[in-house]
Amino acid sequence: MSALPLVRALRRPESAAAFSPEQWNVLIAMARAERLIGTLALRIGDGAVPGEVRAVLADARLDAEREARQALWEADRAAAALAPLGLRVVLLKGTAYAAAGLKAGAGRFIGDLDILVPRDSMDAVEKHLIAAGWEWVKSDPYDDAYYRQWMHELPPLIHRDRDRMIDVHHTVLPLTARQTPDAEAMIADAVPVSDGLYILSSEDRVCHAVAHMLADGDLAGGLRNLWDIYCLLGEADPAALETRAERHGLLPHVRQARRLADALYGEGRTRLTLWDRIVIARLLARDGWGRETRKGLRFAFYLRSHWLRMPPLMLARHLLTKWRKGYRPA
């Protein structure tokens, strides 16, 4: 059993109409596990589905609406806190899609607020957020130093009253990663969405989502990320995207993402490489009870994600420190 039924239902929602009760159970468990239930609910709509399923999907839509509303409120609060700095606050990922009403945002699980700000404003941003009620989550000195020195963000902050997390990024990938997307260019070309808030240009949105999925991540939650990319590709100009991806050093990744998105959510006409097929196997590693399968493959991708982000010696040091503290990949 793999997550193919979920991928098929997203691609052709009407195909679910003939599902048996157990097929629905499987589809719903997979969609929840991949955090795609809201997206699936909006894709399927109120079509010919059993009443029990309609109730489950209605719950998911309600949750997605609340997610979007809360995410936009967090963005509004961050904008208010940072307004005195007069800089461009660029919304990333789910909040950006919701703020701009993009297809990728429809029904999407959002979670933390991610923003991109110029690197030289990080100290001021940190001060203003703390003055407005955000607090440090981690007090572990190793993690804190690691974030500040090597990652592409401040250590996460959480708001003391609202209990919501903000991740402040100054670049797109960790400084240790091999690709070096041009964050300054991304900020310069960002487009306004509301008072003081911006989102990336349509081509940069693809580059950013791809950087996260293929150059950075261990592909956990990859089906959702790939769905974002599939939706975002529809809004980007293909020629401009190639140019932009090249500038960010992400051209092979963007091309691969295009192949993967086409294979899983599109027409499936593109020729796949061996590596594409391995990535797809990893993306589909989910069974009908919502469990992850293929432990070996997942662990390989976990190691790879760290390898991609860090020079080998530092990787060894980081994994050792994490391991001593009892961290194991799930």
Binding site: A29, A55, W289, G290
Partner: protein, 287 residues
């Protein structure tokens, strides 16, 4: 998964999968008389998995998860697998239910009206509801009360009653063995024994009724009754609800209406018998 069962409790249907046959067998026995789920479609998936790769055989312990789970949930002993299954279902309700306002409260019905009892674990709300359920009241639920968002009625969620420590002997004396689960000794909350509600409470699990009285019981104190202001009641119930925030505006309206219409009292009591007498007296005064 290797072993599975589908159960319906009130409005919610659970698909439960397990790596072991034990908990599924217990569930089948204790839930045997519950109305069957229609068509096999589940609202939630619950999984009872081995905690760690070798744990299925080597000192097996259960990790409880499903559609909704807690990453840091402590594994449980296989000897407590029935409790694990119940906790798995509770977890789905607490984190995932959206069709009613969910209050952490027990509820019993008489004369077509509902008495709700809210409080922390150890307040006595569960034991009291179980006792009333054996004495002429219809037990609607010992843990969760579901409030209809539009009409304000209370809906039953009559899962197995989870009796703890001293309550076990008090209740088990009056209840036939066929309705009792195994004694689970030494759980994180002490000894636990499950009890199936009476047949009519199970048969009427789709039948709601309007709320009439809300009590906040507190076991182990001298008898006292204090009317509770609406502001305090509202605040306490937002804390007693696992989905108040998730439901947003609908919950604000439903809870406001509930607090406006239903009188609330704090009730301290020294013993079960005393509590039952106090409840019956309050119920008559209300009528």
């Amino acid at each position: 998964m290797k072993h599975r069962v589908t159960l319906r409790i009130g409005p919610a249907t659970f698909r439960i999968g397990s790596a072991w046959s034990g908990p599924i067998g217990e569930l089948r026995r204790l839930y045997a008389d519950y109305p069957a789920p229609s068509g096999g479609l589940a609202d939630f998936t619950v999984r009872l998995e081995p905690a760690g790769l070798l744990r299925r055989w080597l000192r097996p312990s259960i990790f409880i998860t499903g559609d909704h789970g807690l990453a840091d949930a402590a594994p449980m002993s296989l000897a407590h697998s029935l409790l694990a299954a119940e906790m798995g279902m509770n977890l789905q309700m607490a984190l995932g239910w959206r069709r009613h306002l969910l209050l952490h409260a027990s509820s019993v019905e008489k004369d077509g009206r509902v008495l709700l009892m809210s409080g922390e674990s150890g307040s006595g709300k569960s034991t009291l509801a179980a006792q009333l359920g054996e004495r002429g009241w219809r037990l609607m639920g010992d843990e969760f009360a579901l409030i209809d968002l539009a009409a304000g009625a209370v809906l039953p969620f009559p899962r197995l009653v989870s009796l703890k420590n001293r309550a076990i002997d008090v209740i088990a004396a009056d209840v036939p063995a066929a309705r009792m689960g195994p004694l689970l000794e030494g759980t994180a909350k002490g000894d636990i024994r499950h009890m199936r509600p009476r047949a009519d409470a199970v048969a009427r699990m789709d039948e709601g009724a309007p709320p009439a009285l809300l009590l906040f019981p507190r076991f182990g104190h001298a008898s006292a009754i204090r009317p509770m202001g609406q502001g305090e009641t509202f605040m306490r119930l937002t804390q007693a609800s696992t989905n108040y925030v998730a439901l947003g505006e609908a919950a604000f309206a439903a809870l406001g209406r509930f607090v406006d219409e239903v009188p609330a009292m704090a009730m301290d009591f020294p013993s079960g018998d005393e509590a039952i007498a106090m409840v019956e007296r309050l119920w008559e005064e209300r009528a």
